[in-house]
Structure formats: C-alpha cells, structure tokens
C-alpha cells in the first residue's frame, strides 16, 4: 500500500514496442477528486499510458499506484477501483442499452439487484431511457459514447480513465460529455483523461500534463501553461502601403510580423478595451486596418514553445504503434 493523498501515482513508467520507445519515464500524480488532462498529439504515448494504468498492458519499467494499489503487483485490486472508457464505444452491439449496463454491473460483481438499479439510474441520467430496450446497433454515435461512459460508471469506481472522450463527437454531444465529466468531479471521482485539444484540457482539467515522444515535457495548471506559452494575440492585417508605418507605431508591442502578407501580431489580454485602444491608435495615425482577429494559444503553440516542433510531428510514430 502506498500512503499518499494522490489517488493516481505514476513512477518512472517505460514501455517499448519492439525497437520503438513509446514511454520513456512518465511521472504523474493526480489528487483525489481532480482531473488531470494528458495532452499530446497522436503517437505521443497517451493511449499507452492509459492502457498501462488500466492494467491492459504491463510496463517494461516503473510502476503506477491507483488508489494505493500497484498496477504491476495487484492488477485485480486496481481493476475493481477503475472505470475505463476508450476511444471507441466498446459496448455490445447486439444487446440493448439496458442489457449492456446490467452485464457490466454483474461483471463488476455487483448483485443482480444493484446492477439493475444502477442501470436504471444511469439510463435516466444519460438520457437513454427511451432507447433502453433498443439494441445498441440502432444508437447514434453520441448515444453509444454516453452508454459507454455509463457502463464504466456502473460500479461507482473512484478512478476513471477517459481516452479521448469527445473525439468524433458532434459539438452538442461534446458539450453534454463535458457536463457529465464536471459532475463526476463534483462527486469526488478522480479522472485522468487524454485529449488532443488544448481547449478541452482547459475546460475540464485542474492540471494539464503535456506528453511528447513518451515523456512529460511540462505539467501545471492551465494558467501556468498559458503563462509560459504567452498570452492571446491580436493579429492585424494592415493595408500594404501603411505596413511600415504601423510597425513603427506599435514598436515594442509587436511579437510577430509577416511583411509578405502585411500581418502584425501583438500580445493582448483580449479584452474589448485593449482591442479598442490598439484600433484607436491606428485610426489616429490614419493607418488602415483591413482585418483583425484574436488568437488563443493552441496546442501547437505549447508544442512550439517546449519542443520546437509543431503537434503534427509525431504522425509517423503513431502509424508504427498501431502496426
């Protein structure tokens, strides 16, 4: 047993597939009732990490402790305290929604009565009551994912792993999924989720760990990460013959310029007041601004900042892992 107030503790996790090093020493801690988002591009090792933490895969080195139990030495105890929802809705197509939930409840070793009651509760909460007696084959993508998540909640596990919970969902289903996750956190569930979207990590997570080439390159709260990456940027397109004048006028405020497309970016807090100030300044100097836009820092910015390459760079690795 591991005595610490972190529900998930990961220590020096390594894993290779043949010659390909997928994880090269992952260290993580997630406190009870909080969300950690594992952020990274395809092939960074997110899914491999989740697979090891949910006992599907044995690490080559290191260990992880879930609710005090080692994934290497006590996989059965770990399995009893986790729920796993993967990237694909892993539910039984030929059974109804209700049958799926009851089956999962019984496999989690609930009594038949408890499995039934919990099943009904979840069907209601996940808005699947009307579809309860239909086979899953007839469900939409969003409904399947909701059922999938409901299935991993049936035994109220204290720890939940969500592997890209909203990938492939339409915006409405995505919002619904976010709502559910927020409620789970309020109910003191500890969640580790993976995502490729900075926006999603920002929305849901207490802390964000950025994964690249099998290691955590930076970890912190959303605000800490943003502070490191830089603030929002105001991007202005200036009329061609005013461009030089604009650069001179903005002076030290300029963070990026692109003379070819006569673009100039300046750091901004993104408030209306800020933007108004900049535009008025341009107006007063009779500089014509053709268009403007505000950019939030993206996953790409995080990657550029910490790895010197964009988030797309890991594509090849992913193909290898899936082979």
């Amino acid at each position: 047993m591991d005595q610490s107030n972190s529900t998930i503790k990961v220590r020096g996790l390594t894993k290779s597939f043949k010659d390909l090093k997928v994880l090269t020493g992952i260290e993580l801690e997630v406190k009870r009732g909080t969300v950690l988002a594992l952020l990274g591009p395809n092939g960074a090792g997110k899914t491999t990490t989740i697979r090891i933490l949910s006992t599907l895969l044995r690490p080559d080195g290191g260990d992880a402790f879930i609710d005090g139990h080692s994934v290497v030495k006590e996989p059965d105890k770990v399995r009893a305290s986790i729920g796993l929802t993967g990237q694909y809705a892993a539910v039984d197509e030929y059974l109804t929604g209700r049958e799926n939930l009851e089956m999962m409840g019984r496999l989690y070793h609930l009594s038949r009565a408890d499995a039934k009651i919990r099943g009904e509760e979840l069907l209601e909460q996940f808005d699947l009551e009307k579809a309860a007696t239909r086979t899953v084959k007839t469900y939409s993508g969003g409904m399947r994912r909701r059922l999938d998540l409901a299935a991993s909640l049936i035994a109220t596990p204290p720890v939940l792993f969500l592997d890209e919970p909203t990938t492939g969902l339409d915006p409405r289903s995505r919002l619904a999924m976010w709502g559910i996750i927020e409620q789970l956190v309020e109910a003191d569930v500890t969640i580790l989720l993976t995502t490729q979207q900075l926006e999603e990590a920002d929305m849901l997570a207490d802390r964000i760990a950025v994964l690249d080439h099998g290691r955590i390159i930076v970890e912190g709260t959303s605000d800490e990460l943003k502070a490191k990456v830089g603030k929002e940027r105001l991007e202005l397109t200036i009329r061609k013959d005013n461009y030089e004048k604009a650069i001179q006028l903005l002076g030290g405020e300029v963070v990026q310029k692109d003379p070819q497309r006569h673009l100039v970016s300046i750091a901004t807090s993104g408030t209306v007041h800020e933007i108004k100030r900049v535009l008025e300044k341009m107006e007063a100097a009779t500089i014509e601004v053709e268009s403007m836009s505000v950019h939030k820092p993206t996953l790409d910015d995080v990657f550029l900042q910490f790895t010197g390459h964009g988030a797309e760079a890991n594509q090849n690795t992913e193909e290898l892992t899936n082979a």
Binding site: R51, S54, T55, L56, L57, D76, R79, A80, I82, L84, G86, Q87, Y88, A90, V91, D92, E93, Y94, L95, E99, M103, M104, R106, L107, Y108, H109, L110, S111, D114, I117, R118, E121, E124, Q125, F126, D127, T135, A151, S152, L153, A155, T156, A176, G179, I180, Q183, L184, A187, D188, V189, N322
Partner: protein
C-alpha cells in the same frame, strides 16, 4: 442532461469466493453469447437457411451422380452434411471473437475485475447450443427428403455426444483463429483455407474410394472423416470400425491443446 447521482447510491461489489466469481463471470458471458444467437440476424439465418440449402443442393443436384453403393445417397449424406455444417458453424466463434477485438470490447472486459477469458467460453458455449439446434433442424429436413435412420435411442445419445465433442473442439480452434486473424475479413479467409479442405476432402459428400490416391490417403485418415464415419455408422448402421474411438482421441486431444493456446493468446492480447 440530468444531474448524476454518483454518491447518493454508492453500490459495493459483493464478497464471495473466487470460485463463485468464476461461475458468475462465465455465466454472464455465456448469457451474453446466447443472446447474440437470436439478436444477430446473420447468425439466425446461417443457422437455418444455409444448411437446408446445402442439403437440397447435394440431395437433388449432385446426389444422383454420386455412387454410394448399397445405401441411398440421402442416407449417406446426412452425417456428412451435419458435420460440415457444424464445422462451418464454428466460424461464428471466430467471427464473434474478431468482432469483439475490433470493437474494443475485449479490452474493456480485460480492464474489469472479471474472469475475462470467459468471453471465449461464452462464444464456444453459444456454438454448442447453436449446433444442437442446427443438427435437429437438419435431421428433420433430412427426414422430409427421404433420410431413414436406423439408430436406436442409445445411438442417438452417442451421436449427440460425438457432435458436442466435435463442436467443442472445433470452436476452441475457431476461437484461436479469431484471436490470430483479429479482423472479420481475415477470419473469412482463414476459415475458408482451414475448414474447407478438412470438410470437403473427407467422406462427407462422397465415398473416399473414388478419390485419387494422395487425396484419398488424406481424406481417409484425417479427423473429420473419422467423426463423419462414426456418426454415419451410428445413424444408418454402416460398419463402425475404429472411427468412434479415433474421433474421441482426436477431438479430445485437439480440445486439450487448443484451450491453453487460446487462453495464452487472449492473455497476450493488449489492444490494437
């Protein structure tokens, strides 16, 4: 979205012996696979229509051209077509396993505090039930088109026992094929290459003495022929020889080897 009541109803896993959970988990998986028989329309169709069509094809199209000596062709045919259907029926296990792998549901089962290889046991058990149903249908249809068995009640029990043993053994082999193939498309090819030669290069549809020497040597000594000849002898009283004994040895042996291989492959599987 309604408010989740996660904490208000905290359910707890029950405390029981591990043997209790073994039986619980296996029965959950068996129940699941049995439900598939009736909910999966393809399975239901394969179970009923296909064997009847094969029966008609051989009885009326090819049958007249095949010389079976003293017995009528339909009497000769039923044992062969029964075993052939059971063997092809086992591919349902391969398909179910491959489907479960592809959909990620096996990964999910493996993350539960459950005897997860029970999922294989479930598919194999469903095969047993399906093949008994299918065999009863086929014998019925056979009787409608002129099949006149001479088997006693004891003989029928022996036939049922042999078919169950054969199904059980072949289904575990099919489970291995599903774990190896991993996709539905690959299962179809693999199944064709393995099941096809064993069922057609046998005494299923024609007596082996009309075959070329090399083929005959294979056909007369391979396990599927033994089980066909054993069932045929029990059904219509052809000479039984040592076919029953050899069938029992072969298919018990195959089962004993196949189960550990299947469970090894299952444990090794760690996702796509």
């Amino acid at each position: 979205m309604k408010i989740l009541t996660y904490k208000t109803r905290q359910v707890k896993a029950q405390e029981h012996s591990s043997f209790y959970w073994l039986i619980n988990d296996l029965s959950v998986f068996i129940e699941r696979s049995l439900k598939h028989i009736f909910k999966n329309k393809d399975q239901l169709l394969g179970l009923t229509v296909q064997p009847i069509m094969f029966m008609m094809l051989f009885r009326y199209v090819f049958g007249g051209a095949i010389n079976t000596g003293g017995t009528t062709y339909v009497n000769f045919l039923v044992a062969g077509i029964l075993i052939q259907s059971v063997a092809f029926g086992a591919l349902t296990t391969s398909l179910s396993v491959a489907t479960d792998l592809q959909r990620g549901i096996i990964e999910r089962f493996k993350s539960l505090p459950t005897v997860s290889w029970g999922v294989l046991m479930g598919h194999v058990s469903a095969d047993l039930v399906r093949n008994i149903l299918q065999s009863v249908i086929m014998i019925g249809v056979g009787m409608l088109v002129g099949f006149r068995p001479t088997a006693s009640v004891t003989d029928w029990f022996a036939i049922a026992g042999l078919i169950l043993l054969f199904t059980f053994a072949i289904s575990w082999v099919a489970a291995i094929m599903g774990l190896v193939a991993k996709t539905i498309e690959a299962v179809q090819w693999l199944g064709f290459f393995i099941i096809f030669p064993f069922t057609f290069a046998s005494a299923a549809f024609a007596p082996t003495d009309s075959m070329p020497y090399a083929l005959r040597l294979f056909a007369e000594n391979q396990p599927v022929t033994h089980i066909i000849e054993a069932v045929r002898a029990l059904m219509i009283g052809t000479p039984v020889g040592n076919h029953i004994v050899l069938s029992i040895i072969w298919f018990t042996g195959i089962t004993i080897i196949a189960i550990p291989i299947a469970s090894y492959l299952f444990r090794q599987y760690s996702g796509r």
